[in-house]
């Protein structure tokens, strides 16, 4: 144990709420952005999957919204230490998006309008773990929370759930995204408290 803080007793979370280490519970929905909120007209929106050379799949808003959707209940964990439990979303599973694509790529870079990027192993986008979400709490997803559509990948810290998502690039090598190049962890598992570069 480190230095004991004289006179500090803390305020514990209720014992029946299990949070990842170092997180505290919030009931509002904080907004943190590295830049301005992009305005994206639905008639110009598109989503692509490419391999760095060729576009493998492309959707416009209409064709994207014709894909089967799922209702998702997810706990969100932000690296700035707030957690929000039991949030409700509607989105398209990445299993649907990636389903027919054959690739031996092992990594992915998710790209957003506004040029944000984040990287992750391709396996983390498969197997019912990730969605392109476009509704939150039965409302169209607000621009400040990533609308029209954002990645939702709740088993990683929330910076991986890229807002204003526009595409996924399949990669043979891991390439750090925006925050991953600026001191944050390459993978970002909240239960292993992988916040910063160098955390195990």
């Amino acid at each position: 144990m480190g230095t004991v803080s004289r006179g500090f007793f803390g305020r514990r979370t209720a014992a029946d709420v299990k949070l990842p280490p170092g997180q505290y519970l919030t009931t509002d929905f904080p907004v943190l952005s590295a830049g301005p909120t992009p305005k994206i007209a639905l008639e110009k929106w598109e989503f692509t999957v490419d391999d760095g050379t060729n576009v493998l799949r492309r959707w416009n808003w209409k064709s994207f919204r014709e894909l089967p959707t799922e209702n998702i209940t997810a706990d969100l964990h932000c690296v700035t230490r707030w957690s929000k439990l039991g949030t409700h979303w509607e989105g398209v599973s990445l299993d649907t998006i990636l389903g027919e694509i054959e690739s031996d790529a092992e990594y992915a870079v998710v790209r957003s309008y506004g040029d944000y990027t984040t990287n992750l192993p391709l396996a983390d986008l498969r197997n019912k773990q990730a969605w392109i979400a476009f509704r939150f709490d039965d409302e169209d997803l607000a621009p400040e929370h990533g609308g029209p559509a954002r990645l939702l990948i709740p088993h990683l810290y929330l910076w991986k759930s890229a807002k204003w998502v526009r595409g996924i690039r399949l990669m043979h090598e891991d390439q750090p995204g925006f925050w991953e190049s600026l001191g944050y962890h390459d993978y970002g598992d909240p239960w292993r408290e992988q916040r910063y570069s160098g955390d195990e």
Binding site: T3, V4, F9, G10, R11, A34, L182, Y196, G198
Partner: protein, 200 residues
């Protein structure tokens, strides 16, 4: 990233709810203006709570680290830091963290800073960094506060902008304005920006 122990060498109340904590950290690796630290409090039974706070001090080689903490009424850590912590006590921290929202003294482009409330803290580190490096880059600060008594660093900001023509300071008051203030209280909007000759 390793935890370090700082010793509190000074405390200064900026406002009735905000306190600047000056720490001496033996092996501090210095930092860049705009970065933050994690602060950890530990209770006698080992329970701990961690929060992130912006660094207020300019980069320096003396291991002096200043934080300014605003007390949140229902906070777990900020009431301790602003009311309990005493000079001579020890505080655990790790950092510096973050490589995005930073200002380096070798930067040459003019800067418009915009702060609301305690958001002034990392910007003050930039203003102090500019001063300590002898930079002559034009800096403008737009600083929005609820009421005049909520201004942090008032005398220092006044002194810097008085002696240096390339630093300009504009206040906005959202709930109560000083008697001689040219505008009624209100949020910063486009007319405010137009009338204030800001570089936006």
């Amino acid at each position: 990233m390793m935890w370090r122990v700082g010793t509190v060498v000074a405390l200064h109340d900026e406002t009735p709810t905000a306190r600047t904590i000056t720490l001496q950290v033996a092996d501090w690796p210095s930092h860049v203006a705009g970065q933050h630290v994690d602060v950890r409090l530990t209770a006698p039974d080992g329970y701990s709570a961690v929060r992130s706070y912006s660094l207020a001090s300019a980069p320096n080689a003396e291991g002096r680290v200043e934080l300014t903490v605003e007390r949140l009424p229902d906070g777990e850590v900020s009431p301790y830091l602003t009311q309990e912590l005493a000079v001579g006590e020890r505080l655990e921290l790790r950092g510096p963290i973050g490589g995005w929202f930073v200002w380096r003294s070798r930067q040459t482009e003019p800067i418009q800073l915009i702060a609301g409330g305690s958001g002034i803290v990392p910007l003050m580190a930039m203003i102090r960094s500019r001063a300590s490096a002898g930079s002559t880059v034009p800096f403008r600060l737009l600083y929005s506060v609820r009421e005049p008594g909520a201004v942090f660093y008032r005398d220092e900001l006044q002194a810097i902008s008085s002696r240096d023509d390339s630093v300009t300071l504009t206040y906005a008051n959202t709930r109560a304005a000083p008697k001689d203030f040219p505008r009624p209280p209100g949020r910063v909007d486009t007319s405010f920006i137009a009338e204030s000759d800001l570089a936006l």
